[in-house]
Symmetry: D2
């Protein structure tokens, strides 16, 4: 009879020997990523807000103005949408990128948008300030290598069934290809619980802050799939130590072409920002430092 236990908490505490470039043991200070006038990973809390998809000019500029007024720093919005069904709205594509560019000119907000395949990296990098890798592509290694060769920050979302180790190894691919401006994003993992779309894993945020020097933000919209608990989870995310929040906001959620049920309104976003400010101050962080620096 063998005497080794097949799984023990001691074993789970060990980090993989493959986690090198992303490992805090090899890079003690926090990585701070700069995006226009803002930074992620320092004292401030970065707020990224916007709709799931760019739908039209009126929609994206209304939402951008609304969230900026309440203190958002970066604008999110999807132009290329990876959708579960081929019959769902697939995004406005390059037209969406142009609308995002226009909105940046109007509002001054840097743009975060998703790139879903290597051949689009150049065009998305031309328009965007931050390239987002979505959860479904976290292990699309050719895409990771490609964004690893771009001189723009990359926002890497955790796969819905990725372990923390796999998540850090995906970031390792990007850094190994030459890009050290990586922002991690916890966005929920797939579990058996049906009342939420996924289960937000805030333990992962606490652990990753210990294990890695990379900034990590939290997306409560995709994690829960329901707007009614976004605000309490944003508060929890700030309290646990996240470096920022990415949240879906729509000026008319009931009319959204995608993800309406999880998008908060502009009024809820303003309320959310009040809460972020309070919690951030409590834990010694500066919620709105960026605005003042502009």
């Amino acid at each position: 009879m063998k005497h080794n236990h097949p799984f023990s908490i001691e074993a789970s505490n060990l980090t993989s020997d493959k986690i090198v470039l992303t490992n805090r043991e090899n890079h003690h200070n926090n990585t701070i990523v700069s995006i226009g006038p803002y930074t992620i990973g320092g004292q401030g809390i970065a707020i990224i807000a916007g709709p799931c998809s760019v739908e039209n000019r009126e929609q994206i500029t209304s939402i951008a103005r609304g969230v900026k007024q309440s203190g958002a720093h970066l604008l999110r919005g999807g132009a290329y949408k990876p959708r579960t069904s081929p019959y769902d709205f697939q995004g406005l594509k390059e037209e969406g990128l142009l609308l995002l560019q226009e909105t940046r000119e109007i509002t001054g907000m840097p743009i975060v948008t998703e790139v879903i395949t290597p051949a689009q990296v150049d065009i998305v990098a031309h328009y965007a300030d931050v390239l987002q890798i979505g959860a479904r592509n976290m292990q699309n290694y050719e895409l990771l290598k490609e964004v690893g060769q771009v001189n723009k920050p990359v926002l890497l979302k955790r796969g819905i069934s990725a372990t923390i180790e796999e998540f850090l190894l995906a970031a390792e691919y990007i850094m190994h290809a030459g890009n050290d401006q990586v922002i991690l994003c916890e966005r929920g993992i797939r579990t058996f619980e049906p009342f939420t779309r996924n289960t937000l894993d805030l333990s992962a945020v606490a652990l990753i802050k210990q294990m890695s020097h990379l900034p990590i933000i939290v997306d409560p919209s995709h994690a829960t799939g329901r707007k009614d608990i976004v605000i309490p989870l944003v508060k929890a995310a700030i309290a646990v130590g996240a470096d920022g929040i990415m949240v879906e906001v729509h000026h008319q959620p009931d009319l959204a072409l995608s993800d309406g049920s999880q998008s908060i309104t502009l009024e809820m976003f303003a309320e959310m920002m009040d809460e972020v400010t309070k919690i951030a101050h409590t834990i010694g962080r500066t919620p709105h430092q960026f605005i003042n620096e502009m």
Copy 2:
């Protein structure tokens, strides 16, 4: 071809028609449970601390004095231990209950301890101030019915693979048997992630505060299985709206007979209480109200 989608987020928002007594729609105000001089479910944040198991007089009194000094309200400690293996330490049983009683006399702290089978309900209720139903017994319905007939508060832990609906239905069993003093406890759910023992589900706390009038607390020790992230998760739990925290503390974790790797030290507990106080004030709650009321 049928046109109904097999699962949609809209469907998941609906509550079960079987959730009656625990449902906030039928009882709008928060239930406030009284335990000696303390309450759970009102403005205050209840702190329950202590070792996994009662091991001996010196151990339980040292830990109780230590946590009380930092502001803990209730003392936890297991006398009857449900262990995965028959060869693991099974608890001191009635001797453990006697040591808990002694410790209450010395410190004035009410006692929370687990009952694992219907035949023990009377004896545990004789010594304890709160009867704990552990995660493994959340669907031990005969035990739920039995504690439902006792005039003492019941702390019901979520099963490691229980949905939120199943969790509320387990509380429904206790209330249906006549006991409305039920405190819920989120303690992590089983997922694929190996770096933590379970995955703490703070979305469940936010949802249950909406769906039910019952108080809900959070146990970060069992959820994570590792002491190094207990404090950030406690901060997150308070921020998300939990009514209290239950945490494992040991004066000498390395010598603990069970759960040493997840028990925080008395020094860490003092630090934790400072953080709880700050976050609680920020969100308009009174962290230490109980102490002043004594």
Copy 3:
């Protein structure tokens, strides 16, 4: 940087040093459990069939006669039902046991029925030939210890989120208490897949046949929650090496008081038995040996 990998397949191959009495390394030959004229764990394939709940005399006798005619060996039927909601049908209790006893007298079929709390072990053992421990009670250790002291076989179902190691350790509790007539039952584990109620884990059957000397059977009804795939999964279970099948059968599934959607009809059961016979012969097992021995 530490060099141990947090999880590896090598580690997972190791068995726990706590698995002693159930471990094949300490007991090379298969345990063969005798139940009336039948055995489980030898060359034969044991078929246990019947309704979820005993509902009335006509129902249980009709089903028993029907399944016996097609070759079933043991009759299953719940008298004490552990139900998720207190408002669901909880079983006929002792009246159900009496009806099972009557049905055994009429048909000669030994009875498998569930016991859900220690205080009922004596009465259930008085009427039943096999005591079933349901999935929700797999870690109800006081119940395991109690059935461990009875001189009747115990059918232990895997918990819906129990690992294989935890499953074997639950059996270890029963054997450690003195009862070595333990039959394991794989009945699906909880996963994210919504099209089936749980996910039948036939890998566990293959592994447990290697790791343990105890017989293991498969319950496809609870695993899938849908009658339309019971027959193919029964074929797979026999092919993978299961020692038997436990299946829910109802003469009028649409009228069943519980679990109607997963109960197969008597006609489907007859078809199932034909398939069992073919596969069993193919793999060198004797599907109906018991009948001939009567």
Copy 4:
């Protein structure tokens, strides 16, 4: 109080209205995919065998000859390898494709090999007979669209946390782009069980045979991660109705550059083929029909 149940088995039985081209309701007969002299989806059982990665000429030709001798039809082998870590062996790339081509010329076995990014589709399609989409790329929609425009069969593996509905919708992408030669492959889903790498979901095979006209095969090697239970699971897969098996075989598993612990030896493969033959005959399928047709 609302009266809709948040999740019910009735709901889960319904198919999505987005499943159109892959839906059996719209295409009653089984799709039969032709590959050289073989077919998948008809009466025969297709056997695809070979190493995880092509390592060198001697390795791939030895394994190909070995598996062909025991009755394998198609040769699998990875040239482009998606690996969790950037520091792991990434495959021989085009050199690997050339070695596969050579091996086909020697043995006559058609080649199944993975394509991991849209830009490689042309070159892989030039060398391969079947393009494999790996589990990590099941929702890499740009890749699905690209292989949807190629006139070669596509073997689509289920993502490790993909629901059955998502799996069919991924196939829908390929068919929607114009390619109806799609072979599905169940290869295990991620669960909490640590004794196996993933949990093989044979219920999904039974369900997909009902819901879709596409052929579905089973890969027990990736599902379990351990060679010791490959053979019983192959037997179960045939019994449940799979149209084929894809299995990792290595002539020297201990020296394999990847996945050695799950690769069976040539001797085990020969034994496996004997078992496949027996079970296939039992259920009225023709295990080796292809060989005779050559």
